[in-house]
């Protein structure tokens, strides 16, 4: 049985001759919480928009719940909850009217859960959407997306504009949903701690390529940062593949390598370093290293 909920095959997107996405391959299985990371303009939103059929791809194929994104029927759309970047709600509608519209158009609506969310977020239903603060709009968008009990939740920077308390509430809610219902979540974020907290698999987009696509734990194991000290001057070429970053300062070398394994360690040992220390890396460190102009790919698992 094919468990793939999100599929991306050789996705290419050009904007005015500029390549934004360059041959992306991605497969997200059922029940996975996938955190998509990338710097501003890396192509996260474009990729999500293509997945949702809001933007045509230049080349390649994308699918959601086994159906091609460009041709999503209403039944499939009804199984997907979306929170778009910037929370594109209908600004001149009153909150109550917007809720009614979403409820009437949705294939299923969990009234109890939605009321719980509205109460938790303390959202006023009599005000116009444009009169709400950015944070309140984000909360409303989240509540609307979650009220349909979606099988797949696509969140494009959902915590953008939320204060610390609301962000924590959202993350806890997301965890609650995934644990209770085993749903799939794809979310992009700039806040790495959020991704670290809830994602079980991460992807990092840099220069239009998916340079990282693996489980979070594996990523931390596979990307290694080493501080290597040599007896003499540090060699300029270590003949190692998949070097993400390399900085030399006299006898000392700071080295970040993708897909670190015993073979690479053995190759490094041939240069007879006087010491080789593992430098612990947080997701933020890995993200910064991977999004530098030249980066190796970390894929697997």
């Amino acid at each position: 049985m094919n468990d793939e909920v999100i599929g991306v095959e050789n996705l290419v997107k050009y904007f005015d001759g500029r390549c934004v996405l360059d041959g992306i391959h991605l497969s997200i299985p059922k029940g996975c919480i996938y955190g998509l990371l990338g710097r501003n303009g890396a192509g996260k939103t474009t990729m999500i928009r293509i997945l949702l059929g809001l933007e045509p791809a230049t080349r390649g194929q994308t699918s959601l719940l086994g159906v091609e994104s460009t041709n999503l029927p209403t039944k499939v759309r009804g199984r997907i909850g979306t929170v778009a970047e910037g929370h594109n709600l209908i600004q001149n509608y009153r909150v109550g009217r917007l809720i009614k519209l979403c409820k009437d158009l949705s294939l299923q609506w969990n009234d109890e859960f939605f009321s719980h969310l509205i109460e938790t977020f303390r959202l006023p239903t009599d005000r116009r959407v444009r009169e709400l603060s950015v944070g309140m709009r984000a909360q409303l968008n989240l509540a609307l997306a979650m009220a349909t009990d979606p099988e797949l939740l696509i969140l494009d920077d959902p915590t953008l504009g939320l204060d610390t308390v609301a962000r924590r509430q959202f993350l806890e809610l997301a965890i609650e949903i995934i644990q209770k219902q085993g749903r799939t979540i794809l979310f992009s974020s700039h806040i790495l701690s959020d991704v670290e907290r809830i994602a079980d698999r991460v992807g990092i987009l840099a220069a239009g390529k998916l340079v990282v696509d693996c489980p979070l734990e594996q990523l931390k194991q596979r990307v290694k940062k080493l501080r290597v000290i040599f007896a003499g001057s540090a060699p300029t070429n270590l003949y190692l593949t998949e070097i993400i970053n390399q900085q030399i300062d006299g006898r000392e070398m700071a080295l970040t390598v993708a897909n670190w394994n015993e073979q690479k360690r053995a190759l490094l040992e041939t240069f007879k370093p006087s010491s080789c220390i593992d430098v612990p890396m947080s997701l933020e460190d890995i993200f910064i290293e991977c999004t530098r102009p030249i980066g190796a790919s970390v894929n697997g698992g």
Partner: protein, 210 residues
Amino acid sequence: MFTLIKREIQDHLLYLIGSVVLAAILIIVLISFVFQEGTRTDWDDLIAPVIPIAIIIMLGFCAMGVSQMYTDRNRRVSAFVSTLPVTRTQILFARIATGILTILILLVPLVVTITILIRWFESPIPMYAGIVFDISSTTFLMIFASYCIGLLTGWNPSKVIPTFGALALTCILVPLVIIKGFGWEIAMLLVAFIAALLIRTWQTFTSTPL
């Protein structure tokens, strides 16, 4: 689909109210004219004023089409609605259904009134039996074509193209009817024109990024 049509009606209620008001005004004017003239009413005299009134109505409906598409694009209504279990084709279909409904709200009471009045106050000179049908069907097609022009040109981020493009295309339609007159030939031409406009609108609306 009903929810989408209801949403369109609520968002463009002004045009529907405008149609009702205009229909009421035209009916009052028509009745008072006929009652003044009595059995001496020459129905042919009423055909001439139809053209300037039709032009105003056509421009009004063209504006409705532009307004529906332009506000959608600017407020990103479809961008939000299409994340719900709705396809873009359904959004467009609901929009067109609302346009047709608004046109019918204006035309149906008028046609019914004219038909009744013609029967009550028969002209001394015998009239062509299908004149009401020919005029009303051609008028409907002209107005609908103008509305479709509005839909097509309104889906544009610039303000110049929707305004002047729609105005120019609408103005082309009127001389066409004046030259050809009312009847099946012009109806066929208008149907072909409407079909082309709708196909292009659908193609543009469903393929552009939201």
